[in-house]
């Protein structure tokens, strides 16, 4: 048997192109459905685990999927904004604890997530390096963000303008990186976390500037009366929050109408959650309440419908490939008629010739299997990131 394998190995090595083609065909036909299956399972796991750990989400009426994707995965598709009254409504109900989320802005292609410290407790996020958010203008980076941008506590990151054409718009805010999160293998790894108030500063609802009532620069003041000072555009608003200017930062207007994208609602118990859902169903409110698990279940049903179609396609393609491989072998045998005749004349039995051919097939399958296992290992290793990059974090809508 060993000698048959040795001869088959030498033969395969001699016909490199043919062997490589056959190995590639067999490998691909195995890897494609297996890796697709693996990625879908990972998608399902990620979607479900995140959805199951998020009991309820309150947001503006509209697409429940957009709301869920933005709240859970910080998707670029920002749902219609709601205001902080939605948080107060949940508080007033006494049935649940609210965690506001404001995932609207970006910093170097990563989502800036404005929330409260309760979010970190809720998700069980731990600080790997540095410290938690403490003061306005600080941010904590997800593990992937820190790794990709090469940022560490003590560095800074600048928020991106919403549109490059808005030259007169809000100044970008330079945020101090104070911490990096432990990898959580979730969307949190891809986020730049800030306190909700910092997100409002990015939006321009809060800002810091020189005290116009006390300024010594007369060119800043357009008009001054006993109880009013009108400043012009020369009044510089701070683009970075430092210890020196922190006290000058302030917010305007009623904080109850400050915007957020959604509220994660954590009911006291199942009964409270049910009562709360009922209230949102019954009330003529501009908010909707969604159960992420239900939304994900619906999404997964669509995914698996697509997967079934893909499976059928792969099955047909696979069958065609197997037939093609059989044909390659058949043609190969025909081309090798003289060679096989010489082997026979040398005294090898037909059984020996059959063993030689079987050994060749075995080697091809073995090499393909090894390659397949290796590739599957790679896909498995990166499946979490791949799923987030391809389906979730990259903003690709699977629906």
């Amino acid at each position: 048997m060993i000698d048959s394998l040795y001869i088959a190995w030498r033969y395969s090595g001699h016909n490199k192109a043919r062997t490589a083609t056959l190995v590639a065909c067999v490998t691909l036909i195995a890897v494609l459905p297996l890796s697709l299956n693996l990625l879908l399972k990972e998608s399902e796991r990620q979607l479900l685990s995140r959805a199951e750990s998020t009991p309820l989400v309150v947001g503006a009426k509209g697409s429940a999927l957009d709301l869920m994707m933005n709240t859970l995965y910080f998707d670029n598709e920002v749902p219609e904004l709601i205001d902080m009254n939605a948080v107060d409504e949940v508080v007033q109900s006494g049935l649940a604890a609210p965690i506001p989320v404001y995932a609207r802005f970006q910093a170097r292609d990563f989502s800036i997530v404005g929330t409260t410290l309760d979010y970190f407790d809720f998700r069980g996020l731990e600080i790997a390096r540095g410290r938690p958010l403490a003061v306005l203008g600080e941010c904590v980076l997800g593990a992937t963000v820190a790794a990709r941008l090469g940022l560490e506590p003590g560095d800074a990151i600048v928020s991106s303008p919403e549109t490059v054409f808005d030259l007169a718009g809000i100044y970008p805010l330079k945020m101090q990186v104070v911490g990096v999160l432990e990898p959580g293998h979730s969307s949190d790894d891809l986020a730049v976390f800030v306190d909700l108030k910092t997100a409002w500063v990015i939006q321009g609802l809060g800002h810091g500037h020189e005290d116009v009532a006390k300024t010594k620069d007369p060119t800043v003041v357009l008009k001054r009366t006993a109880d009013s000072v009108v400043a012009n555009a020369k009044l510089v608003q701070y683009t970075e929050i430092t210890e020196a200017n922190l006290d000058s930062f302030h917010f305007h207007g009623d904080s109850g109408v400050y915007p957020i994208t959604s509220v994660i609602v954590v009911p006291r118990d199942t009964k409270s959650g049910t009562i709360l859902r009922g209230r949102y169903l019954n009330q003529a409110t501009s908010f909707q309440i969604v159960e992420p698990k239900q939304v994900v279940d619906g999404l997964l049903q669509n995914i698996f419908r697509i997967k079934n179609v893909l499976d059928a396609v792969i099955l047909v393609v696979g069958l065609a490939t197997v037939l093609a491989i059989a044909l390659v072998f058949a043609l190969s045998l025909r081309l090798r008629q003289r060679e096989l005749g010489t082997i026979f004349k040398l005294g090898c039995s037909r059984m020996t010739i059959a063993r030689l051919l079987a050994a060749e097939i075995f080697i091809i399958v073995l090499v393909s299997g090894s390659l397949c296992a290796g590739l599957m290992g790679v896909v498995d290793y990166y499946s979490g990131d791949l799923v987030r990059a391809l389906f979730i974090g990259g903003g690709v809508n699977l629906a």
């Binding site: 902080m84 948080v87 107060d88 508080v91 604890a97 609210p98 409260t116 410290l117 309760d118 407790d121 410290r131 938690p132 958010l133 403490a134 003061v135 306005l136 600080e138 104070v178 306190d195 909700l196 108030k197 321009g204 500037h209 116009v212 009532a213 109880d227 009013s228 000072v229 009108v230 400043a231 012009n232 555009a233 009044l235 608003q237 922190l246 006290d247 930062f249 302030h250 917010f251 305007h252 207007g253 904080s255 109850g256 400050y258 954590v266 006291r268």
Partner: protein, 362 residues
């Protein structure tokens, strides 16, 4: 942002029997909370003793200490502005004055300004010394108790009993202040600093607030401002947060203005909150007694000129009260008032006209 009062979960790993760690933003809250929670909690006020907690700003490390607390007790009403510039866990943060937030007094002495697209606005804030209205102090203590009961339901009876004792003492102070204020009834007062707004409202005090610092010399223009003020607001007492510099007190004495101290006790005091407040109320009662001795309440003043003289005097010297002139009548040479508010007018009269021998019980 609205501070929430939820306390749904305590930090993971903390046993229910462990004393609660509670961080507060001023001494009155520390006192109330410690009285209520007793040995079931440790109440921390990390503000240095010589710093006004309203103006203090914590370091990031101190903010993290707040974040680690089981409960963070805020005063609300814009007290300690730093809370709006830091990240605190909303689940464990409570605003003790949220219940009466509709009654916050807005301080409107800030200059409004406009720049950019935000339009005209000012950075004015609410008056924040809420506890000087003792009924509000009680409401704050009740709010603290509610949250403590949520955090430690098994100690509800202890917390409730402690609250009742505290309420009794605060109620007693409130009643004494009401009684003293009734005697004062409209007597003009000066406040060295604008921190007594809630006290003025609750006890209907006729006060004007200045910006005199007890530990700083008073500038000449401030003295001039005071002289101008006294012309239209003839106050004989100035209420201070702390004892002023001797030179300040002497100058005030020259102007026939007496100094009394009503300490807000925003930071830790040598005795305790209740002792300081009792002393404050006693000092206030001293003013009231002074007024009473000067122009005894529920008494009438006899025979000093005719009715027109009295009306003229009253109208000129105490304009805000002139609408109440009709409540005053002079019968058979005796000036009578059927309303307490008008007794202040009599006090005002008495200051310039010696009244010894001219008062008589009714």
């Amino acid at each position: 942002m609205t501070a929430l009062v939820l306390i749904m979960t305590l930090p993971v790993g903390r046993a229910a029997a462990d004393p609660l760690t509670i961080y507060v933003v001023n001494y009155p809250l520390q006192y109330f909370t410690q009285r209520i929670v007793a040995e079931h909690g440790q109440v921390v006020l990390p503000v240095p003793a010589d710093v006004d907690p309203a103006l203090w700003r914590p370091t990031p490390q101190q903010v993290i200490e707040y974040q680690r607390a089981d409960l963070i007790v805020l005063n609300g009403a814009g007290y300690a502005q730093w809370v709006n510039r830091v990240a605190l866990p909303q689940f464990r943060t409570m605003n003790t004055s949220a219940r009466f937030k509709e009654d916050y007094i807005t301080v409107d002495d800030t200059i409004s300004h406009s720049h950019g697209p935000t339009g005209q606005h000012s950075h004015g804030v609410s008056a924040f010394t809420t506890w000087l209205d003792f009924t509000q102090a009680i409401a704050q203590a009740e709010a603290i108790t509610q949250v403590l009961i949520k955090a430690r339901p098994d100690q509800e009876r202890v917390f409730t009993e402690n609250l009742e004792l505290l309420k009794q003492e605060l109620n007693e102070l409130d009643q004494r202040m009401l009684a003293a204020a009734q005697k004062l009834a409209g007597t003009p007062l000066l406040f060295s600093h604008p921190v007594y707004q809630y006290m003025e409202r609750r006890y209907r005090l006729n006060g004007v607030s200045l910006h005199f610092e007890p530990d700083q010399e008073i500038a000449p223009e401030q003295w001039q401002g005071l002289d101008n003020l006294i012309e239209r607001h003839p106050a004989r007492w100035m209420v201070w947060e702390h004892t002023p510099l001797p030179a300040t007190a002497k100058r005030l004495k020259e102007k026939d203005i007496k100094v009394i101290v009503f300490a807000p006790a925003a930071n830790v005091v040598k005795t305790d909150f209740m002792a300081v407040m009792r002393e404050n109320v006693r000092a206030f009662e001293g003013i009231a007694d002074g007024v009473t001795n000067f122009s005894p309440l529920d008494k009438s003043i006899e025979g000093v000129g005719d009715k027109s003289q009295w009306f003229s005097y009253v109208t000129d010297r105490d304009a805000p009260m002139d609408e109440k002139i009709n409540q005053v009548e002079i019968t058979n040479g005796t000036l009578r008032s059927s309303r307490c508010d008008c007794k202040a007018l009599m006090a005002g009269v008495g200051r310039d006209l010696p009244i010894e021998g001219r008062t008589a019980g009714t």
